[in-house]
Symmetry: C2
Subunit: 301 residues, 2 copies
């Protein structure tokens, strides 16, 4: 059987995740209306869904349970969405535009943005903890491991920790290793969690599998950020759906500011090769993960 | 055997929880230092630890696993602590003082306060998900239920939802039922989760047990808020460790503004009796839960 073209597979996953997110989020007619409306505005109808795509691509390697995959994918996307709402607030990046729409604190107000982010983080854990387990589904002990992994990736040893380092780096001239460390936490931790949670929806991982998926995640996570920095420096706001040129304006260290544009592009290409190499032992089954590495490096927004 | 005096039991639990919190929170010498320092500043060395006390008191009814109790208690206290940091921010209640110390956005800055809250919420789930399970400890499926319960109590159907209703109520004249509904979410959901999680550290609850604990929690949760409103109207900031008289100044509806002071005091007494009545079927074993209901109504701060 020939695999479906990548674009078709991707559109299918995105549509499935959109439907699942709409279902897992509180309905807008439930009290409190404004909060729920703003939560749905934040999460639905936008975004590339990179984390869900990684979940499904990794799950495809291990014949994962479809219902568990949907919950893991949505939990990760909801964590990601909450982080964007809080990042965009005036006390952080102070951004008015996200995914081509006014940010939550602009469309509503700061207090609502704060609560939307807080409520979404709890929602993410509720969605994942709602995964059916026992009796033919995932063992409950595996689900506990997955919840712990998600929490670790979201917290001060992961995404929030990376954000904190990012904040403290404004105006500093970071070394490349420091920049890499910051991004491994800020975006890398959640991307790695996506790959691992997708796999865990299928089976307990062996040490070599964990190592291979970890190496793939690390390369893809850094590539994602290198390309983000390249796009921030070269694309326009309309294409990005967010304000372009922010990093330079905010005096933030980036791959482009440290390495220059050409070397940054070369690094992205090298990381793409590393991602492919990490998947060697999985053979044909890793098709979607390879295609996602290509997408992440070649994207235009 | 005679039970230890309440004050002694309480001090013992508070000391145990303080030690467990210090252990479960990231160390201040781990990167990122400032974030971890602010997280520890927020959680450690202050607070009445009402939620942990409820966890332990409820666990005492069901011969609960001590290690699981410590994790459940810390998870709830960490969720509570994060909510205070975010509530105190300028876009919410804009408060400078909490537990007698400068609030996080005053001691550091708003961005740090935002991240401290976000990281603490993730930490709470990580702490609870780290509970040992299987083989003589809690069944993993029970732990999954506990994690789902915590997430539900923290999110838009619980604490965050109550906050959102609270925000939207400023300047409105709420009916008593609406005020009650708001507080059942804003503080009641987490207090109820404390009682239930403590019990679940011991055993799966029967329907009558769940109902009795639910009735106790509801009465105690409302009593807690009625007394908070009474203290806000009558005590001074030094005694409270936070700014007194805020609610009236902010034009927020309270039990005192709706019922008046005397009727509010009568209501607190009635809720205390309801809490005791709910525990009737548990007999002597429910001593600590009864004493906590008394404490919550009779406290001076």
């Amino acid at each position: 059987m020939t695999a479906a073209p990548f674009g078709q597979w991707m559109a299918g996953v995105q549509a499935e995740v959109e439907g699942a997110l709409a279902n897992f989020l509180p309905q807008a007619d439930a009290v409190p209306h404004k909060l729920h409306e703003a939560m749905r505005y934040t999460v639905l109808g936008g975004g590339k869904r990179v984390r869900p795509l990684l979940v499904y691509a990794s799950g495809a390697l291990f014949d994962a349970d479809p219902a568990a995959l949907a919950r893991a994918a949505c939990a990760l996307e909801i964590i990601h969405a909450y982080s964007l709402v809080h990042d965009d607030m005036p006390c952080m990046d102070d951004d008015d535009l996200r995914r081509g729409k006014p940010t939550v604190h602009v469309a509503w107000d700061e207090a609502t943005a704060l609560l939307v982010g807080d409520a979404l983080q709890a929602q993410a854990f509720e969605v994942l903890a709602g995964t059916a387990c026992g009796q033919g589904a995932l063992p409950a002990s595996r689900l506990v491991d997955m919840l712990r992994l998600l929490a670790g990736a979201a917290g001060s040893g992961g995404m929030c920790g990376g954000q904190a380092i990012d904040l403290d780096s404004v105006g500093l001239s970071l070394k490349l290793e420091q920049l890499e460390r910051m991004h491994q936490l800020k975006t890398g931790a959640l991307l790695r969690a996506s790959v691992l949670l997708g796999a865990l929806c299928g089976k307990e991982l062996t040490a070599p599998e964990l190592e291979a998926l970890g190496a793939y995640s690390k390369a893809v996570g850094l590539a994602f950020q290198v390309v983000d920095d390249i796009l921030d420096a070269t694309a326009d706001s309309a294409t990005l759906g967010k304000t372009a040129g922010k990093d330079a304006a905010d005096n933030k260290p980036t791959y482009v500011s440290i390495l220059g544009l050409e070397q940054s592009k070369a690094l992205a290409g090298q990381l793409r090769r590393e991602a492919h190499d990490a998947l060697a032992s999985f053979g044909e089954q890793a098709l979607r993960l390879r295609e996602l590495a290509d997408l992440i490096v070649q994207r235009k927004a």
